[in-house]
């Protein structure tokens, strides 16, 4: 059976849940994922209106090839359960769960989701969960959270809330949350799922966004949340392999196929040893770059 192609999650565009203009156009900007937000982007006295609006948008708007996720309110708030009751029956690609702190909380969330799915005769394995880590306790428990359920297929970090929880300022170099970012990446990698970086709040600082995104890529994030369509191209470009990387990966891929046919496990290209991990990395580079392997 052919290996399932992993979906690119370079850019995840937050769209405020009570803004019809932005919700209806969310799919046209080129983001890999859209994130319809019922949580922080919606005023407390508009939660009800946003929930109904997002529900109708999910039913009627074509988001093209974007992965569609909905950030619901936490189940400990007066809005979380109502959000899940409206959104789960529509089975977006994922529910983004804010301020995840423990597997007990995650278990309760999954119990509620599955109860709603049972009521609507829906499967338990289609809609994924993206767990947001936004508190120090969440960071401490991130390994357990990432491993808890097959439904959790991405871990994301909420930098603004995390710095607030830590009682520190969110600086442009993200020094205060660097440890947390790396913890989250390791937890995600250990479980074979994606780690998604926090937003870059200064929409006008394009160079700063590019630098931060390249750093995020370097330390292992698969993608980054964005808050403005202007940020999408910069983030997508930063997460795309360079021409040089693609050329090198193509060479490795061709060499690997040839070596395999000859029964070799390890071989060399330009004097450098190529083994299974190097091949896996090259294959992922080609996958991200959307290169058809049959053409190599």
């Amino acid at each position: 059976m052919a290996k399932a192609k992993r979906k690119n999650r370079r850019s995840m565009l937050y769209i405020p849940g009570n803004n019809p203009a932005m919700l209806q156009n969310g799919g046209v900007y080129g983001a890999d994922c859209v994130l319809l937000d019922l949580e922080d982007a919606v005023a407390l006295n508009q939660k009800d209106a946003a929930r109904i609006l997002v529900r109708n948008m999910l039913q009627n708007v074509d988001y093209y090839n974007c992965e569609v996720s909905v950030r619901v309110n936490h189940i400990s708030t007066p809005f979380g359960l109502a959000d899940l009751e409206e959104i789960v029956p529509l089975q977006p690609d994922a529910i983004r769960f804010p301020k995840t702190e423990s597997i007990q909380e995650l278990a309760e969330l999954i119990r509620i989701i599955e109860e709603i799915e049972d009521k609507h005769n829906l499967p338990h394995d289609k809609m994924k969960i993206h767990a947001m880590i936004e508190t120090a306790v969440g960071v401490q428990n991130v390994y357990q959270i990432a491993a808890y359920s097959k439904r959790v297929d991405a871990i994301t970090i909420g930098g603004q809330d995390l710095t607030a929880d830590m009682g520190i300022e969110k600086t442009k170099d993200n020094a205060g949350i660097d440890y947390a970012r790396k913890q989250i990446i390791m937890a995600a990698k250990a479980n074979g799922i994606d780690a998604i970086d926090t937003v870059f709040a200064d929409v006008d600082d394009e160079e700063g966004l590019r630098e931060e995104t390249l750093y995020a890529k370097k330390i292992g994030f698969s993608g980054k949340a964005v808050i403005n369509p202007r940020q999408i191209d910069i983030v997508n470009d930063a997460f795309m392999p360079t021409d040089e990387e693609i050329r090198k990966a193509s060479k490795i891929y061709r060499g690997w196929v040839k070596a395999k046919a000859e029964g070799l496990g390890v071989f060399a290209i330009d004097g450098k040893m190529i083994d299974a991990p190097v091949f896996a990395r090259a294959e992922r580079v080609l996958e991200i770059a959307n290169v058809d392997l049959n053409t190599l």
Binding site: P20, A21, A49, I52, R55, N56, M57
Partner: protein
């Protein structure tokens, strides 16, 4: 379903519609005042969307002012539904 209080949902932003509703005396029917900059092209469609939701909640008597800024049907329906739920005191909103 019975409306028990006034309610407001929506904004005057582009692609949105502002819905203001008040309970009306029984037998007075649906009094809908619609203002839209595309009323000539889409006035009937907008009213149809409004009536669809009023029918769904079995609202026979209501006073409504709808100020449309080019909202799509599913936005109109969402705003009317949220306004009705607030007016029925099922959901809490801005005027509470």
């Amino acid at each position: 379903m019975k409306l028990i209080q006034s309610a407001q949902v929506g904004t005057f932003e582009s692609s949105d519609i502002m819905i203001l509703i008040d309970p009306a005396d029984m037998g007075t029917g649906r009094d809908i005042e619609l203002d839209s900059n595309v009323i000539l092209q889409y006035g009937d469609d907008i009213l149809q969307s409004i009536h669809k939701i009023l029918d769904k909640y079995e609202i026979a008597d209501v006073k409504m002012v709808a100020t449309d800024k080019g909202a799509l049907n599913h936005t109109i329906e969402a705003r009317v539904e949220a306004a009705l739920l607030r007016a029925m005191n099922i959901q809490k909103g801005t005027l509470l």
